[in-house]
C-alpha cells in the first residue's frame, strides 16, 4: 500500500478542486459607457488644468484642420498651377510654400496637443491617486478594518489608470470625430454629386458594425474574463505555493490550470477572428469608394465638369476615411471601463471622514500624561454597544492594565484613547482635555503605541526608528541602546542603515518588537499604549522584551492590554473587562485577595487572560 491511499474510503467521482477565483469579472470591469455623475466628478479634478486642457483641445482642432487641408493644397496645386504649364511654376512654388506653412503649423499643433493632453492626463491620474490616498489616511478606522487592502490598491492603481487612458483617448476622439465630419463636409463642398455618392459606402460599414458589435463585444469580454481567470489562478499558485507543495496538489492544479488556459486561448482566437474579419470589409469598402471616385469622378473629369485635382483630393480623403471610425469604436469600451473605474474611485472619496478636528481644536502640548474614561459607551454598529459605561483613570506615571477575554472590548478602549472613533456617550480625556477638543496631530504626539504585531516599513532601520518624529541620528541610537536593540543592529554589516526587506522579514520577531519599542521611545510621548504580544515570541525573546519594556515605561503613563502575569503584578491598577463592562478593578494584590474572576484565574495560574470567558 502506498501512503495516502485508503481503499475502503468513499471517494468523490470528481475532485473538489478549483484553481483561481470563481467570480466573474464582467461586473467589475464594465459599467455604463456614459455616466454624467462620474464625468462631473472627473471634471472637478480637471479644473486646475482647464487652461492647458482648452489649449490642448484647440491644438487637436488645429491639428485636425491642417490634416484636412493637405489634400486640398494638393488639389489646388494640380488644378491651379499644373494646368497653367510653365507659367504655373511660380504659383506652384507659392502653393508649396503654403504647404510648408501648413505642415509647420501641423507640427506645432501636434507637439502642443499631445504634450498637453498627455501631461494633463498624467496629472489627473496622480491627483486622483493622491486624493484617494490622502482620504484614506483620515477615513474612519471602521472602513479600513472592513476593506481589504488589495481592493483599495486596485483602485489606487488600475482604476486611476483607466481614467488617465480615458482622458487621453477622449480628447483624441474629439479630433477623430472632427476629422470624420471634416472629411464629409469637405467632400460635399468640393463636389456634392461625387461627395454624396462616395459617402454612400459609409452606411454599409455602420450596418455591418451593428450586427458585428454585440457578438464581438461578447467575444472580447469572454476573452478578457478568461485572461483574468487564468492570471488569477497563476497568482494563486504563486501566493499559495507552500500549500500547493506541502499538500501535493501540483499535478491536479496543473490539469485544472491547463483547462483554464485552453479556454483562454480559444477565447482569444475567437476574439481575434472578430477583430480581423473586419479588415477585408474595411479594405473592400475603401476599394469600392475609390472605384466610385474613379468611375464617376473620372467620367465627370472626362465631361470637363470636374477638375482632376478634386478627383485626386477625393482619392486621398477616402484613404483616411475609416481610420476615425475604427478608433471611435475602441473609444466605447475605454469609456465603459472608465465609468466603472470612476464609480469605484469616487466611492472611496465619498467615504465620510467621521473624526475631524474641531474648528478651534487645541494642542495637547504641555498637558500632563493622564487618560480618563468617563461613562463611555461605544459600539461599531448602532444598537450593539461594545463598551458600556466605562470609567477609569490613569494618572501621570501610572500603569493601568486591561485584561479580559477576546471580544471584551480591550482593543476598543485603546482605539478610543487615540480617537480612532468617537464615543457614543461619555467622554475620553487625555491630559485633562476631551479628545474631541484637541487636534488629532497633538493627540498622536502625546500618545505613542506599540502593537502586538510590530509593524515595520521598508527602508532602513534608522528610518524605521525615527519614523515621523524627526529625531536626530544620535537620539535614534540612544533609544536603540535603551531598549537593547543597539547590539543586534550594529552586528549587521550596514548597521543602522540596514535596509529591511519586505517589512522586516529579515529580522526575528523579537528584533522587530525591539525596533518598535525604540520607535515609541524616540517619539518620547508622555503616554504609552501597549498591546502586549502574546504569541510568536519564545521565552528567551520574552525576557529581553520585558527588560526593554520596563525601560520604555519609566516615567510614562501606560495603558496596557496585558497577557502576562509579570506585567500585571506591577500595574497600579488592573481592570477586568467582560462583554464591554468593567467587572473588577484594583491592584493585583486587591484582586487576587478577592473572590472574583481575577483571583480565580490567578489561583488556577491560567494560561492566558484572553480566555477568561472560555472556562469561567
Amino acid at each position: 500500500m502506498t501512503a495516502g491511499e485508503h481503499a475502503a474510503e468513499p471517494r468523490r467521482t470528481r475532485p473538489l478542486a478549483v484553481v483561481g477565483s470563481q467570480i466573474s469579472v464582467e461586473e467589475v470591469l464594465f459599467g455604463k459607457a456614459f455616466d454624467r455623475w462620474v464625468l462631473g466628478r472627473i471634471a472637478g479634478f480637471l479644473v486646475p488644468y482647464r487652461r492647458q486642457l482648452l489649449l490642448g483641445v484647440f491644438g487637436v482642432l488645429v491639428f485636425t484642420g491642417t490634416q484636412l487641408a493637405i489634400p486640398l493644397l494638393i488639389r489646388t496645386a494640380i488644378d491651379k498651377a499644373l494646368v497653367l504649364g510653365s507659367a504655373g511654376e511660380d504659383l506652384l512654388l507659392i502653393i508649396v510654400l503654403g504647404f510648408l506653412a501648413v505642415v509647420t503649423v501641423n507640427f506645432v499643433a501636434n507637439l502642443v496637443q499631445e504634450q498637453l493632453v498627455g501631461r494633463v492626463a498624467g496629472h489627473l491620474m496622480f491627483d486622483l491617486r493622491r486624493a484617494m490616498y490622502r482620504h484614506l489616511q483620515f477615513v474612519s478606522m471602521a472602513f479600513m478594518d472592513q476593506t481589504e487592502i488589495g481592493r483599495l490598491m486596485s483602485r489606487l492603481q488600475g482604476d486611476v489608470q483607466a481614467l488617465q487612458e480615458f482622458l487621453e483617448s477622449s480628447i483624441f476622439a474629439i479630433g477623430d470625430l472632427v476629422l470624420l465630419l471634416g472629411i464629409v463636409v469637405v467632400l460635399l463642398l468640393l463636389d456634392p454629386r461625387l461627395g454624396a455618392l462616395t459617402l454612400m459606402v459609409m452606411p454599409v460599414l455602420f450596418a455591418v458594425r451593428i450586427i458585428w458589435l454585440p457578438r464581438a463585444r461578447k467575444a472580447f469580454i469572454h476573452a478578457r474574463e478568461t485572461s483574468s481567470a487564468t492570471n488569477g489562478a497563476l497568482a494563486e499558485s504563486v501566493h499559495g505555493v507552500r500549500a500547493v507543495q506541502e499538500l501535493g496538489r501540483e499535478d491536479l492544479n496543473y490539469g485544472l490550470f491547463r483547462e483554464l488556459a485552453r479556454e483562454n486561448v480559444r477565447a482569444h482566437c475567437l476574439a481575434s477572428r472578430f477583430v480581423n474579419v473586419l479588415i477585408p470589409l474595411v479594405d473592400g469598402l475603401t476599394g469600392l469608394a475609390m472605384a466610385v471616385i474613379v468611375v464617376y469622378g473620372g467620367s465627370l473629369v472626362l465631361d470637363g465638369s470636374l477638375d482632376v485635382g478634386v478627383m485626386v483630393a477625393f482619392l486621398f480623403y477616402v484613404q483616411r476615411f475609416f481610420d476615425p471610425i475604427r478608433s471611435l469604436t475602441i473609444q466605447y469600451s475605454i469609456m465603459q471601463r472608465a465609468m466603472a473605474a470612476g464609480q469605484r474611485i469616487f466611492e472611496v472619496l465619498d467615504v465620510p471622514i467621521e473624526v475631524r478636528d474641531r474648528p478651534n481644536a487645541q494642542s495637547l502640548l504641555g498637558t500632563p500624561g493622564s487618560i480618563e474614561f468617563r461613562h463611555v459607551t461605544f459600539g461599531y454598529r448602532p444598537g450593539e454597544p461594545v463598551l458600556t459605561d466605562i470609567s477609569f483613570k490613569a494618572r501621570q506615571g501610572e500603569t493601568v492594565a486591561l485584561v479580559g477575554p477576546t471580544g471584551s472590548g480591550k482593543t476598543s478602549i485603546l482605539s478610543l484613547a487615540h480617537r480612532f472613533y468617537d464615543v457614543w456617550s461619555g467622554q475620553v480625556l487625555v491630559g485633562g482635555m476631551d479628545v474631541r477638543d484637541v487636534t488629532q496631530n497633538s493627540l498622536g504626539r502625546h500618545i505613542s503605541v506599540v502593537l502586538q504585531e510590530p509593524y515595520l516599513f521598508s527602508g532602513s532601520i534608522l528610518e524605521n526608528i525615527r519614523y515621523a518624529s524627526g529625531a536626530e541620528d544620535s537620539e535614534v541610537v540612544a533609544a536603540a541602546r535603551a531598549v537593547g536593540a543597539h547590539d543586534f543592529i550594529t552586528r549587521f554589516a550596514d548597521g543602522y542603515e540596514t535596509i529591511l526587506d519586505q517589512r522586516g522579514v529579515n529580522l526575528s520577531m523579537g528584533q522587530r518588537q525591539m525596533l518598535s519599542f525604540a520607535r515609541a521611545l524616540v517619539a518620547d510621548s508622555p503616554i504609552l499604549i501597549l498591546d502586549e504580544a502574546t504569541a510568536n515570541v519564545d521565552s528567551y525573546t520574552e525576557l529581553e522584551i520585558q527588560r526593554a519594556l520596563s525601560r520604555l515605561l519609566e516615567g510614562r503613563t501606560a495603558l496596557i492590554i496585558a497577557h502576562r502575569l509579570a506585567t500585571i503584578r506591577h500595574a497600579d491598577r488592573i481592570i477586568v473587562l467582560r462583554e464591554g463592562r468593567i467587572v473588577e478593578s484594583g491592584t493585583h494584590g486587591e484582586l487576587a485577595a478577592g473572590d472574583g474572576l481575577y483571583s480565580m484565574l490567578n489561583r488556577m495560574n491560567h494560561a492566558s487572560f484572553d480566555d477568561l470567558a472560555a472556562e469561567a
Partner: protein, 619 residues
C-alpha cells in the same frame, strides 16, 4: 497582504531573484528560441508569411491604379472630342475601378489571414509558455520562492508572456511586410522617376532610425516608470496595512510627504515619457510632410515640364500616404523585438531553472509498512551558508505511530529545519532520513509528500468554499471526512455557525478568518490526507490557549495511527509529548520525557522555570 513569518533564516542566492532590468537588451539566442516556438506551428506560420507577402504585394498595386485612373481621366481630356474615345475612356476607368476593388479586397483578405494566423500562433506560444511557467513555479523549491518577489513572478507570468506573444505579429511578420512595401515601392517609383523616387523615400531612413531609437528609449523610460510605480505601490500598501501605526503616531503628514516624494518622481518620469513620445511622433510626421512638399514641388515642376504625368505624380503621393503608417511601425517593430528579447530572457531564466529538489532517476513510490520516521546522524547547512555554519549536526531520533515527539529550543537552534528536511524541502548534507528504512531521497517526492504532512504556521486561503479549502490536500474526500478533519482542528463548530456552513466562500472577497482560525484551517487541511507523519511547526501560536488545549487532545487522539512531531515555543503545546528533544545550536542536547528533563535540571528545566513565571504554561 499579510505575510507569513518564516522562522528559519534561509539565505540562498539565485541569479533570477533580481527585479526588472532597467535597460532593454537584444539577445539573439532568446529571439531564436521564440522563433523556434513559433515554427512549432509550421503550417500556420507558412500561411501567415505567404499571406503577409501577398497582402503587401497587392497593396503595392493600389497607388499604381490610382495613378492610372487619374491619367485615364485626365490624359484623354484633350482628345475627348470624339464620343467613341470617351466611351473607351469610361471603359478603361471602369476596368481600373474593378481592379482597385479587387486588389483592395484581396489585400484585405490576405491581411486578415496574416493577422489572424500570426495572432493564433502568438496565442499558442503564450499558452505553451504559460503552462510551462505554471508547472515550473509549482516545482521550484520553497527556498527559491522565499527569495523572489511574488509581484515580480506575476509580471513575468503576465506582461512578459504578452511581450513574447506580440513578437510574432509585430516583430516577425512585420519585417516581411515592411521589406516588401519599402523595397517593392522603391523599385516601382524608381522606374518612373529616379530623382523623385529618391526624394520621396528620403524620409524613410530618418523616420525608421529615429523611430527605432525613440521606441527603445521609451521602453527604458517605461521600465523606469514601472520601477518607480512599484516603489509607490509598496509605500501605499505598507501605509494601508499599517494604518493603525500611522494614525497612532499621527504620521499622516509624514506619510503623505513620503508619498508625494515618490509620486512626484514618478510623475516626472511620466512627463519625460510623454515628451519623448510626442517629440518623436511630431518629428516623424513633420519629416514625412516635408518630403511630401518636396515631392509636390519637384514632381509639380516635372509635370509642368511634361516629363511626368499627373497620374504618375498622384501615384508618388499616394505611395507616400500608404507608406506613412508602416514606416512609423518600424519603431513599433524595433520596440517589439527589444521587448520580446527582454521579456523572453526573463521568462526563460525561470523556465531553465532546475528544481534543486527533484525525483532521482527511477524513483519508486514510498512503501509504508510501520510508518517509522528515522533521523540518522543528520547534518545540514543551508546552501549559501559558510561551510562551518551547520544548522543541524548529528541529529538522530525516531518517531513512530502512536508517539508524539516534542522539539523545543531557542530561536535559531534548527527546530524548523527539522520539519523542512522531513518534507525534503532541502536535502540533508550528511546522514540520512528514512521512512520504514527507505531513504527519502530515493523515493518519489509525490509519495513522500503525501506520506508527510507539515502544518504551516499560516494557512493560505484559496478563494473557494471552506470545504474546498479543507479538502485541498485530498479533493476526493467525502463531506463527512472533511467535517471530521475540521472537528479535530476545532473549526467545525465555527463553520456550522456560519449561515452557509461549509459552502461559505473564504479568501479574497470572501469571509476573512482570524489568524487562529487560519492556523486551525491549516491543521484541518493537513490531517485530512491521512498521512503517516504529521509535523506541527509552531502551528498553534495564534490559537488561544483554551482552544489549543482541546486541539492538543484531538491531535493526541489521531496520533495513535501516525507519528506526530510538534515543534513549539510554548511548553504548554507539548503536554502530550512522549519524548522531548531539546535543540541547541543544531544539536540535541537533552532528550527524554518532560519529567525526566525537569529532573535533569539542564536547559529544559531552565526554560520550564522561565515559562512558569509567566502564566503561559499549565502545570
Amino acid at each position: 497582504m499579510s505575510s507569513t513569518v518564516s522562522s528559519s533564516g534561509r539565505v540562498d542566492t539565485d541569479p533570477t531573484a533580481h527585479t526588472l532590468p532597467y535597460v532593454s537588451r537584444l539577445d539573439g539566442r532568446v529571439l531564436w528560441r521564440i522563433s523556434e516556438l513559433a515554427f512549432r506551428h509550421p503550417y500556420r506560420m507558412a500561411l501567415a508569411m505567404v499571406a503577409t507577402a501577398l497582402g503587401a504585394s497587392f497593396q503595392l498595386f493600389v497607388p499604381q491604379f490610382l495613378g492610372r485612373a487619374v491619367d485615364q481621366a485626365q490624359g484623354l481630356l484633350a482628345g475627348a472630342a470624339a464620343a467613341g474615345v470617351q466611351t473607351e475612356a469610361v471603359d478603361a476607368l471602369l476596368q481600373t475601378a474593378m481592379l482597385l476593388v479587387a486588389v483592395s479586397l484581396l489585400r484585405g483578405v490576405f491581411t486578415m489571414v496574416q493577422n489572424y494566423q500570426g495572432e493564433v500562433v502568438g496565442h499558442f506560444i503564450a499558452h505553451h509558455l504559460r503552462l510551462d511557467y505554471y508547472r515550473k513555479l509549482q516545482s521550484l523549491s520553497l527556498s527559491w520562492h522565499d527569495q523572489v518577489h511574488t509581484g515580480d513572478l506575476m509580471t513575468r507570468g503576465i506582461l512578459d508572456i504578452e511581450g513574447v506573444r506580440m513578437f510574432v505579429t509585430t516583430g516577425m511578420l512585420r519585417v516581411i511586410l515592411l521589406a516588401i512595401l519599402i523595397g517593392g515601392g522603391f523599385v516601382i517609383l524608381f522606374r518612373i522617376d529616379q530623382v523623385l523616387a529618391l526624394v520621396a523615400f528620403g524620409f524613410v531612413p530618418f523616420v525608421g532610425v529615429s523611430a527605432s531609437i525613440a521606441r527603445i528609449r521609451l521602453r527604458d523610460i517605461w521600465l523606469q516608470l514601472q520601477n518607480e510605480l512599484s516603489v509607490l505601490t509598496r509605500a501605499m500598501e505598507e501605509n494601508l496595512g499599517g494604518i493603525r501605526v500611522v494614525r497612532a503616531f499621527a504620521a499622516q503628514a509624514h506619510e503623505l510627504a513620503r508619498f508625494d516624494r515618490i509620486s512626484r518622481r514618478a510623475l516626472g518620469i511620466s512627463h519625460r515619457r510623454v515628451a519623448l513620445f510626442v517629440r518623436n511622433t511630431a518629428q516623424m510626421n513633420f519629416a514625412f510632410f516635408l518630403t511630401m512638399g518636396a515631392v509636390l514641388w519637384i514632381g509639380g515642376v516635372k509635370t509642368i515640364e511634361g516629363t511626368l504625368t499627373l497620374g504618375e505624380l498622384t501615384e508618388f503621393l499616394a505611395f507616400m500616404a500608404i507608406l506613412q503608417m508602416p514606416i512609423r511601425q518600424i519603431g513599433w517593430m524595433s520596440n517589439s523585438v527589444a521587448r520580446a528579447s527582454t521579456c523572453g530572457g526573463r521568462l526563460f531564466s525561470v523556465l531553465d531553472l532546475a528544481p534543486s529538489i527533484a525525483d532521482p532517476p527511477g524513483a519508486r513510490g514510498l512503501e509504508v509498512s510501520e510508518g517509522v520516521l528515522r533521523y540518522e546522524n543528520v547534518d545540514f547547512s543551508y546552501p549559501a551558508a559558510a561551510a562551518d555554519a551547520r544548522t543541524l549536526s548529528d541529529v538522530s531520533f525516531e518517531a513512530r505511530p502512536g508517539q508524539i515527539i516534542g522539539i523545543v529550543g531557542p530561536p535559531g537552534s534548527g527546530k524548523s529545519t527539522i520539519a523542512q528536511l522531513v518534507g525534503r524541502y532541502y536535502d540533508v548534507t550528511g546522514g540520512r532520513i528514512t521512512i520504514d528504512g527507505q531513504d527519502i531521497r530515493t523515493i518519489s517526492l509525490e509519495s513522500l509528500r503525501s506520506a508527510v504532512s507539515i502544518i504551516q504556521q499560516d494557512a493560505f486561503l484559496f478563494t473557494a468554499s471552506i470545504s474546498h479549502n479543507v479538502a485541498y490536500g485530498n479533493p476526493w474526500a467525502e463531506g463527512t471526512k472533511i467535517e471530521r478533519s475540521a472537528a479535530v482542528a476545532q473549526l467545525h463548530d465555527h463553520i456550522m455557525s456560519l449561515s452557509t456552513g461549509y459552502d461559505t466562500l473564504v479568501g479574497e472577497r470572501g469571509l476573512s478568518l482570524s489568524g487562529g482560525q487560519r492556523q486551525r484551517m491549516s491543521i484541518a487541511r493537513s490531517i485530512l490526507p491521512d498521512s503517516t507523519v504529521l509535523v506541527l511547526d509552531d502551528s498553534t501560536a495564534a490559537v488561544d490557549a483554551a482552544t489549543e488545549a482541546r486541539l492538543q487532545d484531538a491531535i493526541a487522539d489521531i496520533s495513535r495511527t501516525r507519528a506526530v512531531i510538534i515543534i513549539a515555543h510554548r511548553l504548554s503545546s507539548l503536554r502530550h509529548a512522549d519524548m522531548i528533544l531539546f535543540l541547541e545550536h543544531g544539536r540535541i542536547v537533552e532528550r527524554g520525557s518532560r519529567e525526566e528533563l525537569v529532573a535533569l535540571g539542564g536547559r529544559f528545566a531552565e526554560l520550564h522555570r522561565l515559562q512558569a513565571a509567566s502564566p503561559e504554561t499549565r502545570p
